[in-house]
């Protein structure tokens, strides 16, 4: 009998949900990343393209805090400048993904009917499409490769995912009493969409946005690693790791620093997204 009691599922003690210090550390780290990317030009950094032949494959030192690569370029500077590519792709692609997917998802869930049926069917078909392969295919054929094209392709590929999340989130809200009340009051559709629905799906949208940025940045990193993102010598975290493959044995720092930068960035995004989701307790919506 005691065994029965021991094994019964533990009930989570009721406690006030807090975001916690780790959450704010992550927010701080991300802000630092964003600021670093924006102000990389004015920061006291060596030019990321400058090749110092007196310090090739040098380890971390006071002169070069993260060391230098096989061409004598400062790794710290390249990591900071490299974050620009990741941030540009992350924010740009999600802007496109949410810009298209979010209004469509909200409209479909609010209006229902034929619009919803058709849109959802189309998005379902697109979702079945292996997005990563499609992205690689389009990027490899649509030459010459530019950052803009990469952002557009990844952004468009994310639309069906955003649509699905936003639609199901809106569906859960659209049947609530206050929406019906607003309709009865004679509110316009636009007012209901912006004033009733939008604020209520915002938490889900934001947490999914952060996790989406993490996914997109990972994808760009993989593309860069495969040599399919922005062309060298422009630094990005992915192509720095790619370039370091050949000199990995002599200079492991060249792998370690960009990898660390990328992983910490992703970890913070995932953590904040996850924490926000449980903070707003959006359990009724299946993501």
């Amino acid at each position: 009998m005691s065994d029965l009691l021991d094994q019964s599922p533990e009930i989570e003690p009721l406690r006030e949900q807090r975001l916690g210090p780790l959450f704010w550390i992550c927010v701080g780290w991300l802000s630092l990343n964003v600021l670093g990317a924006i102000f990389a030009n004015v920061l006291p950094l060596v030019n990321p393209l400058y090749q110092n032949y007196n310090a090739i494959n040098a380890g971390p030192s006071l002169h070069h805090l993260f060391g230098t690569d096989d061409l004598g370029r400062d790794i710290l500077s390249r990591v900071v400048f490299g974050s620009r590519v990741s941030l540009a792709v992350g924010s740009g692609a999600m802007l496109i993904g949410f810009g298209i997917g979010m209004p469509l998802g909200m409209l479909a869930a609010y209006r229902r009917g034929r619009l919803d049926t058709i849109l959802t069917a189309v998005m379902y078909v697109l979702l079945a499409f292996p997005a990563i392969i499609a992205v690689i295919a389009v990027i490899s054929f649509w030459t010459p490769r530019t950052l803009f094209k990469i952002i557009v392709v990844i952004g468009l590929a994310s639309v069906p995912l955003v649509y699905r999340v936003i639609r199901s989130a809106t569906l859960a809200v659209a049947t609530k009493d206050y929406v019906t009340a607003a309709k009865v009051q004679g509110s316009t559709d636009r007012r209901i969409l912006f004033r009733e629905l939008l604020p209520n799906i915002a938490p889900i949208a934001v947490s999914f946005l952060l996790i989406g940025v993490a996914t997109v940045v990972t994808l760009e990193g993989a593309l860069a690693f495969l040599g399919l993102s922005v062309n060298p010598p422009t630094p990005s975290w992915g192509n720095m790791i790619n370039e370091s493959r050949t000199v990995m044995a002599q200079n492991p720092w060249l792998v370690i620093f960009p990898s660390l930068a990328l992983c910490l960035f992703l970890l913070c995004l995932n953590f904040i997204g996850d924490r926000l989701r449980s903070y707003f307790d959006v359990t009724e919506v299946k993501l």
Binding site: S8, F129, P130, I136, A137, A222, G227, R245, C263, L269
Partner: protein, 316 residues
């Protein structure tokens, strides 16, 4: 059930059709005359004529599609003008490596995820559960291309383990020992990403299942812990796991590209990336088509499998 399968089958045909149109149209994304881009500017008129005939380039675009899809359905994906070999035979030589890699990684991932998730779910928020959840969350943020680079850096460069580094791959039939050693790091890399996914899905599903009344019922009957966990709790939870595994296949293939690229393992991924680098567009097109259709078929198969295990799905 039949109606469900039939509906999915119609959708499958639709998706495959769209994939074929997309793959076909890739050639036309190239700037300028496809023949010049594919063959280079110094191409002989004879080669141009062959390519024009192969792709039907002088016909209207809709007709071109039918010429192309007709060839594809006969197993003819064209001949690469760079290696002078048929695209279909290149793909046939490469794909078993991808399958082996996926198989090995999935065996590892399931072998780790299932027991750990079940143990975690027994005491949610216990020490083990917290450790595993935090660990899997951290792993979630490490992309495969970093895992493989770090593994190679540590295992094959620092520790100097033989046959694990770049270009140590040999085929299974010529030397299976070396083959398995050379695939160890890539399999572990792919397994890590899958493990995180399976662990998280199975853990949360098991926690929910263990709160069901039929589990309390089984406990009150005095069934053994082992029997409850495997027969009563794991079976319903395995549906979610199966569904996740099916969806995961696309990600596995993409992860496979990365590890193959780094280690020079001549699977579809490596072939694709080198084809892109050498502008072997027909080979790229062929691989994109085959891989996309493969992923969709595997997804369909897993959908079918889950609907067999859990008949409720097909009634939705």
């Amino acid at each position: 059930m039949l109606k469900y399968v039939l509906r999915r089958l119609i959708m499958l045909v639709g998706i495959v059709f769209i994939i074929s149109v997309g793959s076909f149209y890739l050639i036309h994304l190239l700037p300028g005359d496809p023949a010049t881009v594919i063959l280079g500017t110094g191409a002989s008129p004879a080669n141009r004529a062959i390519l024009y005939k192969q792709l039907g380039l002088n016909k209207p675009i809709i007709e071109q599609y039918f010429v192309w899809i007709g060839n594809v359905l006969h197993g003819n994906l064209g001949t690469s003008f760079i290696s002078q070999t048929s695209v279909a035979s290149t793909i046939r030589a490469a794909y078993p490596i991808d399958l082996e890699l996926i198989f090995l990684s999935q065996v590892l991932a399931f072998a780790a995820a299932i027991p750990l998730a079940m143990r975690s779910a027994r005491k949610p928020n216990g020490l083990l559960d917290r450790l595993l959840s935090a660990g899997s969350f951290t792993l979630l943020s490490i992309p495969p291309f970093i895992i493989i680079v770090l593994l190679v850096l540590i295992v094959s460069i620092k520790l100097g383990v033989a046959n694990t580094g770049p270009s140590s791959f040999v085929s299974f039939t010529s030397n299976w020992r070396v083959n398995l050693t050379s695939l160890a790091l890539p399999s572990i890399t792919l397994a890590t990403a899958s493990f995180v996914l399976y662990f998280r899905v199975l853990r949360s599903d098991m926690i929910a299942t263990l709160q069901e009344e039929f589990i309390t019922m089984a406990r009150s009957k005095g069934l053994s812990q082992r029997r409850i966990m495997w027969r009563h709790a794991f079976r319903p939870s395995s549906v979610a796991l199966l569904g996740t595994a099916g969806v995961n296949i696309g990600g596995l293939l993409a992860g496979g590209f990365v590890v193959q690229y780094l280690l020079g393992i001549p699977g579809l991924g490596y072939t694709l990336i080198s084809a892109i680098a050498s502008s072997d567009y027909l080979l790229v097109q062929g691989i994109v088509l085959v891989v996309s259709v493969g992923v969709v078929l595997i997804n369909f198969f897993f959908d079918f499998l889950t609907s067999l295990v859990d008949p409720r799905i097909s009634r939705e």
